[in-house]
Structure formats: structure tokens, C-alpha cells
């Protein structure tokens, strides 16, 4: 695609990086087919889109692919963009739809996540071991089980949990993003956490019997 000189892709990226307009103006320009403005929107939201997809599908390569595909689809459907609404809320609808379809396809074809690297890791500041290697290991195992349990959650529950716990959104923000009442957000969170609580209880039970 790109030759030795500055190709259109590079030019668009450079122009995109240089654009310092507010989002509304970027969206309006992107609607008109301005690639530089769209590149600026991609720069602005690529990390959020990637992590949103990662939270929903749990594998790096798939999250990258799905988030990039979401941007590509967003550009193709740009005429449906409303400059008065936040761009990310609109993009997120595309990301989640792609991810849910992907998960459904993965379930149908019984594709496994086992080979993939864990998409969640321990916080650097997380220290619950008190220098005790046995407790450290036990805690690591618990986190691993909880991570796997998150991967098994129904899509809507997983989504609510990820948005709250790992993206740090407040209930109002989640409700706005998903277009659902706050009460539904809380119910989904409750359902997700109840399932995770069972996993923790099982681990506790096993520890006692061993």
C-alpha cells in the first residue's frame, strides 16, 4: 500500500494526529468522508474500543481484530452518525454486536480460549500474600478461577461487570452506554457477581476438604 514516499495511509494518520478539533466537528467531518478526521477519532478511541472488545471476548488477537473491524464498519456507516451524540456510545454498539456475534460463533464451533494468554492479570499493587508463598499461590489460583468464571458469564452480565470493574464506569454511564435503566445495570451486576461468588465458595469448599 504505502510506497517509499508518504502514502495516503500515513498522510491520513499524520493529518489525523494534527487535528485538534472538538469531537463534534470531527464527527461532522468524518460523516462527510474526511479520512483525517476519522483517523483522529480512531486515535482518540482505539484503546477504549480495544479494551471493550477484550472484556467481551477475552483474547488479544480477536479483540484487536474486532475493534478494528468496528471502526471500519463505523466509517462505512458514517452517514448514520449523529454529531450531537458521543461518538464512542455509537461505536460501542458496533463493538458489542460484533463481539456478541463472535462469542455466539465461538460457542457454536466450540472454539476454546485455553491457548490464549489471560486477558486479566493481577494488579501490581495487589498484595495479599503477607510474604507467604502458599497464600500467594492460593490467591493467584482464585484469581485464575474467577477470570475463567467471568469468561463463562452470559454476555450481558459479563458486559456489565467488565464496564463496572475494569473500565471503571459508574452506573449512570453504563446505563447510558447500553441504553438500559440503571436498575437493569444493577441486576446484571448482581447476577454476575452471584455466579462468581459460587466459584469462590467452591474453591473455599475444596480447600476445606483437602
Amino acid at each position: 500500500m504505502e510506497g517509499r514516499g508518504v502514502g495516503p495511509r500515513q498522510r491520513a494518520r499524520d493529518q489525523g494526529a494534527a487535528v485538534e478539533a472538538d469531537e463534534q466537528s470531527l464527527v461532522e467531518r468524518a460523516r462527510g468522508g474526511d479520512l483525517a478526521a476519522f483517523a483522529a477519532l480512531v486515535e482518540r478511541y482505539k484503546q477504549r474500543a480495544y479494551y471493550a472488545a477484550l472484556g467481551l471476548v477475552g483474547t488479544h488477537d480477536d479483540a484487536l481484530e474486532l475493534s478494528q473491524e468496528a471502526f471500519a464498519r463505523a466509517f462505512r456507516a458514517r452517514r448514520g452518525l449523529d454529531p450531537g451524540r458521543p461518538f464512542y456510545a455509537w461505536l460501542y454498539q458496533i463493538v458489542r454486536r460484533l463481539c456478541f456475534n463472535f462469542n455466539r460463533d465461538r460457542a457454536l464451533h466450540r472454539r476454546k480460549l485455553e491457548e490464549a494468554q489471560p486477558w486479566l492479570v493481577a494488579q501490581r499493587r495487589a498484595s495479599y500474600a503477607d510474604g507467604d508463598p502458599a497464600r500467594t499461590l492460593e490467591r493467584e489460583r482464585l484469581r485464575e478461577r474467577v477470570r475463567r468464571a467471568i469468561e463463562q458469564l452470559p454476555d450481558f452480565e459479563r458486559e456489565a461487570l467488565v464496564l463496572r470493574e475494569f473500565e471503571g464506569l459508574r452506573y449512570r454511564e453504563i446505563a447510558d452506554l447500553l441504553g438500559i435503566p440503571i436498575g437493569t445495570v444493577m441486576s446484571r451486576l448482581y447476577a454476575a457477581r452471584r455466579r462468581l461468588a459460587r466459584v469462590i465458595e467452591e474453591q473455599g469448599g475444596r480447600k476445606e476438604t483437602s
Partner: protein, 152 residues
């Protein structure tokens, strides 16, 4: 309010308490409920443990080059999509034209037995039926897609 609605309300309050989103007055309501219901207290404790574990976890960071190459990959997708549309369009037009010419040639060929012409007609008709069937199946499946409502 019946008991199941009350239960649901308390569950929501528990979530709000865990996430620091309790509003004025709700804390007292929750505390009162916890006071009189040991099962609810136990459940809240279990939820606290879940919250504790999930708070210890964070995203695995992707390699930094992912961000540098991100826009390039999006751009390539856009470009390829345009290419595919043009290729598909050209192929369809050319294939249609070629098929039409071929059919006319064969049909006007007097030396060709009628059964060969009929077999050809049957083959083409069958292909059309299969194509329509696949398209219709896709369309029906799309209408029953449980996630259709996800898109605004």
C-alpha cells in the same frame, strides 16, 4: 411491594453499596434490612469477597506496537472493502454478460440435441433455486438473530 420485588430492591442496594453508589437514605434502608436478615448479610459478605478479587485484577496490556499500527490496519480494512466491492461488481457484470452470450450461442446451435439444451436449462434453474434458498435462509436467520436488538 411484594417480597420478590423487595428482594430485588435489596439486591440492587447491595450492588450500590459495593460500588459506592448508594444514594441518601438508601444506606439506612440497607442497614436495616441487613440487621434483620442474616442471609442477606452473608450474601453481601460473599459479594464483597468477589469485589475484592476482581479489584485485584486489571487488563493485560497489549504490546505497544499495537497502538502504532492500529490506524494502519483500520485503513487497510477500508481500502480492501472498496476493492472487494469493485471486484465483485465487475465479476458479476462480466459473468452475467458471458453467461448470456453462452446461452444464446448454445440455444441457437441447431446441431445440438434438445436434451442437452434442456439439461443446461435444468442446471441453470437449479443454480438459481439454490441461490434463492441460501439468500432466504440467511435473511430468515438474520431476522431471528437474538442479538438483533443490540444495535440501536
Amino acid at each position: 411491594m411484594n417480597s420478590s420485588e423487595e428482594r430485588e430492591r435489596l439486591r440492587r442496594l447491595m450492588m450500590a453499596a459495593l460500588d459506592g453508589e448508594l444514594e441518601d437514605g438508601e444506606r439506612a434502608q440497607l442497614e436495616e434490612a441487613l440487621e434483620r436478615d442474616p442471609d442477606l448479610r452473608a450474601e453481601l459478605e460473599r459479594m464483597r469477597e468477589v469485589r475484592q478479587v476482581t479489584r485485584e485484577m486489571t487488563w493485560r496490556e497489549p504490546p505497544p506496537e499495537v497502538w502504532q499500527e492500529y490506524w494502519g490496519s483500520v485503513y487497510a480494512r477500508l481500502e480492501r472493502a472498496t476493492g472487494w466491492v469493485l471486484v465483485s461488481l465487475g465479476t458479476l457484470v462480466l459473468a452475467g454478460w458471458g453467461l448470456w452470450r453462452l446461452l444464446r450461442e448454445i440455444w441457437s446451435e441447431a446441431a445440438l440435441p434438445m436434451w442437452v439444451k434442456l439439461a443446461l436449462f435444468s442446471l441453470l434453474l437449479g443454480l438459481v433455486v439454490l441461490l434463492v434458498s441460501v439468500v432466504r435462509e440467511k435473511w430468515v436467520l438474520g431476522r431471528r438473530d437474538p442479538y438483533r436488538g443490540v444495535e440501536r
